[in-house]
């Protein structure tokens, strides 16, 4: 009977072939490491955020007179409301953590290179959507940090040329962050995850066209690709177990460690907190914003610091595949960049002093320099490595890629 039902469906909808082609039989490089688990984890966190969020929304009230109280209602009176809320709050941090590792892996192994540029760019779009969603969600508890964080960030849009002031009012729905801002942020915070789902779908379609990259950076022969199921279902589930252990430590034992104490004080527009800090995942970008003395410059620098990742496929001019694996200088650059991110994060966290401002400015320069110098360094490194000698299959791949490129060029010229 089930066989007949599936047959009936298959005549009308490509169920079996879809499952075989894209789920169970999807060819995956056998040599990908645990760093390749994080895309799957990001998908799981997205589902968890939506699931907990839907139930939180049943008890939450988007009204400046009631929202802070309704969070306390969830925390105290709703059955397991505290669990839902802590899962959602910790989940936001988990989402960024997983995404940052996912991006770091892409950068390290050069997975953004051709033919995976669209994966990298759709991922960049997903990062922006995630940031917007997290930012709007942070206003909803209507605590002091919620209010002042939203005030500071919406205020940045004053940098828009010609009608900056109008843009700020348009975003807030009022002259200050108020009830109109809260209700629209709530509405959009509920909408965005579904937009993210759509973007994830596009990200996956691109993935299934170009297939996963792998640590060698070389396109593997068919025999080195293995079906997704059972190999990667087993591997991803084991990774999920590890992830859930870490996540649960935060949810059950230190849930308040990621919530600023000031956000347990209801928003008060008459009283600015001593020190406004964003959530940890925005700290490096916030540090860059503060490092530029001029407001418009700061906003531009912050925007560029997020968007600059998108240029990597063009900035990296080395033809050597595998990212840091075969490229010692690129590897060094990568680690320096990570260190720089931590320095920026720390600068963004501490109250600004003349000392931290200087450190922040140096770190900001290093941040942009590490992108700016990539084209030159990568080209020089390529020459040096080719002279020094590389594994045969790597050189073969470079030659083949160059040849393909030439052929495409010729075809275009003729065509």
């Amino acid at each position: 009977m089930p066989g007949r039902i599936i047959e009936w469906i298959d005549q009308r909808f490509p169920l079996t072939s879809f499952v075989k082609h894209d789920l169970t039989g999807y060819p995956t490089p056998r040599n990908i490491s645990y760093w390749w688990n994080f895309g799957f984890l990001a998908g799981i966190v997205l589902v968890m955020q939506v699931a907990t969020g839907i139930f939180l929304a049943m008890h939450y009230k988007a009204d400046i007179a009631m929202s802070f109280d309704s969070i306390q209602h969830i925390m105290r009176d709703v059955n397991y409301g505290w669990l839902l809320r802590y899962m959602h709050a910790v989940g936001a941090s988990a989402f960024f953590f997983v995404i940052f590792v996912h991006m770091a892996r892409t950068l390290y192994y050069g997975s953004y290179r051709a033919p995976r540029e669209l994966m990298w760019w759709t991922g960049q779009g997903l990062l922006l959507l995630l940031m917007a969603t997290a930012f709007m969600g942070y206003l909803l508890p209507w605590g002091q940090m919620s209010f002042w964080g939203a005030t500071v960030i919406t205020n940045l849009f004053r940098a828009t040329p010609f009608f900056g002031d109008q843009v700020v009012i348009w975003l807030r729905g009022d002259y200050t962050v108020g009830d109109a801002t809260l209700t629209r942020f709530f509405s959009l915070h509920y909408l965005m995850p579904f937009v993210i789902f759509g973007a994830v779908f596009i990200h996956l379609i691109a993935l299934h066209t170009v297939k996963s990259s792998n640590p060698s950076g070389i396109n593997l022969a068919d025999k080195d690709n293995i079906p997704f199921h059972p190999y990667f279902t087993a591997k991803d589930l084991y990774g999920l177990g590890i992830f859930l252990i870490v996540y649960s430590v935060f949810v059950f034992f230190i849930p308040d460690s990621l919530i600023e104490p000031a956000n347990n004080i209801p928003a008060n527009p008459m009283q600015t907190p001593n020190h406004i800090v964003p959530e940890w995942y925005f700290l490096p970008f916030y540090a860059i914003l503060r490092s530029v003395p001029n407001m418009v410059g700061g906003v531009l620098a912050m925007g560029l610091s997020v968007m600059i990742f998108a240029f990597m496929p063009y900035l990296d001019r080395s033809r050597i595949p595998g990212g840091a694996r075969y490229r010692p200088i690129y590897k060094l650059q990568f680690y320096l960049f990570i260190v720089d991110m931590f320095v920026l994060g720390w600068v963004g966290y501490v109250p600004p002093t003349s000392q931290t401002i200087v450190i922040g400015q140096i770190a900001t320069l290093c941040y942009f320099a590490s992108f700016f110098f990539v084209p030159f360094i990568s080209k020089m490194e390529e020459g040096w490595l080719l002279k020094k000698g590389l594994p045969a299959e790597v050189t073969a791949l470079i030659e083949k890629e160059t040849q393909d490129k030439e052929e495409r060029k010729l075809k275009r010229l003729r065509g």
């Binding site: 919530i259 104490p261 260190v339 290093c366």
Partner: protein, 214 residues
């Protein structure tokens, strides 16, 4: 590389400077059993409730938690069980006498950097200034009077009594700020045990599945 070393050096210097700025807080070990929390509630009602509210706590919550019915009835007087624990003094009266409305205490343990340790240190942080008025080491601008009489008592037996009282009050306020904490920790141990066993099993599943590969 040189800039990196410079940055790291600068960081370590300023990290040190930053750490020194914070006044050291006294550490308090909170009590979590019903009897101690009830004692803290008693002390809190005696010392703080005249001015401070706890609007997210209802008298019924104290009963549900397991506190003595007679005590709760004594605290609430003629107010219904479902009413919130509001201050005895109105906010405007309090603002008139102290210059500032006393804050609600429901979330106080979570709303201050340092949490319970801060509140404990603050309650015990009163001292007699040279001018003969009480001051506070941890919050010099405070408008709150020295309710536990820390500044006027001598060292010794009575001091440890005050310390115990402050500890009870803070333990109670910690429960008030996070009434489900004990439940959360209990559930957390089960969840961790479950996940550990599950993850170990998943590890072996993964190993088994991958061993088929040549």
């Amino acid at each position: 590389m040189k800039t990196l070393i410079k940055i790291l050096l600068l960081c370590s210097i300023s990290l040190g400077a930053w750490a020194n700025e914070e006044a050291a807080l006294d550490k308090v070990i909170l009590e979590t059993d019903v009897k101690s929390v009830e004692r803290g509630a008693d002390a809190m009602i005696g010392a703080c409730h005249a001015c401070h509210s706890m609007k997210y706590v209802h008298y019924r919550d104290l009963l549900t938690y397991g506190m003595d019915k007679q005590k709760v009835d004594g605290w609430r007087g003629d107010q219904p069980l479902d009413s919130a624990v509001m201050a005895q003094m109105s906010e405007s009266d309090a603002a008139a006498s102290f210059g500032k409305a006393p804050p609600d205490l429901s979330l106080m343990v979570k709303a201050r950097e340092g949490g319970a340790n801060y509140l404990y240190s603050y309650l015990l942080g009163y001292y007699m200034t040279k001018e003969g008025v009480p001051g506070n080491h941890y919050y010099p601008e405070t408008k709150m009077p020295d309710v536990l009489n820390v500044s006027s008592i001598a060292e010794g037996a009575s001091h440890s009594e005050v310390q115990a009282q402050a500890r009870d009050i803070v333990s109670f306020l910690a429960w008030v700020a996070d009434p489900h904490e004990q439940e959360r920790l209990r559930l957390g141990y089960y969840v961790m045990a479950y996940l550990l066993v599950l993850t170990v099993m998943l590890y072996f599943v993964k190993k088994q599945v991958w061993s088929n590969l040549k």
